[in-house]
Amino acid sequence: MTDLTITAETREAATQEALRRLRLPLEALEIEWSEEEPDGLLAGARPFVLMNVRISLDYVAGVVAECVRNLLERMEIRAEVEVQCPDDFVLVGISCDRQENLIGHRGETLDALQHLVIRMTHMGGRDMPLILLDVGNYRKRRIERLRRVARDLANLCLENDREEAFDPMDAIDRKVVHTLLKSVTGVKTYSRGEEEHRHVIVAPDK
């Protein structure tokens, strides 16, 4: 998830632009304003406002939790749903009976549920926080494993001042790695390769 910066002549115009781009209601946005006084070459030009927009994690968490509850109800699964927002993720924890049925072979059912919830809530955009579903800490363990590898490779990258490559991973794991390494200074990440060979690269950020 990235902050969105918009400049406009008025606060009203900036707000309209943000709502149009993000397709979210106003209550979903956390907004900071700063007014800029034109100077130098632009002196005498009209002043403009600078708007910094973040999507409220609480808002996303609320919408997603509601969607998950409705979905599980229709699957006739009795469950407790609880949302946390660590590391800028929206992590939806589900506790229920027969958890292995909801996780599926290598997490396939959990990934499927997660995909549907993101599509159903229309929250898959680039500016959106990463939405993750978890059953019985399955996803949490996967995140912690990725966190250890990410930390090691970022350290290697900084020590040797060269790119390091992760093993190929699916789209969800790659997004987790990008998000985890966003807060590490001195490195940047991107993905390379196609389809099942697609993998994350961590590179020195100069």
Binding site: C67, M75, I77, N101, L102, T109, D111, A112, L113, H115
Partner: protein
């Protein structure tokens, strides 16, 4: 099962009023037929068939309780 697929499909499409779901239930299997507006077909199938695949996975997880095989067909 029918309501599950209807619920998912209605949230995915632009024309929820045109979502139609039929269910044929046998002794050992359930066949769900999902019909949506022509310009919504892409939304229920998804990029590379990802969304249709996800619906099938979730449907079969819900159907294991009934000890039945499930089949989802998307018709135009």
């Amino acid at each position: 099962m029918k309501e599950l697929i209807r619920h998912i499909a209605e949230a995915l499409v632009d024309h929820p009023e045109q979502v139609d779901v039929k269910c044929i239930e046998g002794d050992s299997s359930i066949i769900i037929e999902l019909k949506v507006a022509p310009d919504d077909v892409g939304k229920v199938i998804g990029k590379g068939g990802q969304t249709a695949k996800a619906m099938r996975k979730v449907l079969s997880a819900a159907a294991t309780k009934l000890k039945k095989k499930s089949l989802l067909q998307i018709v135009e």
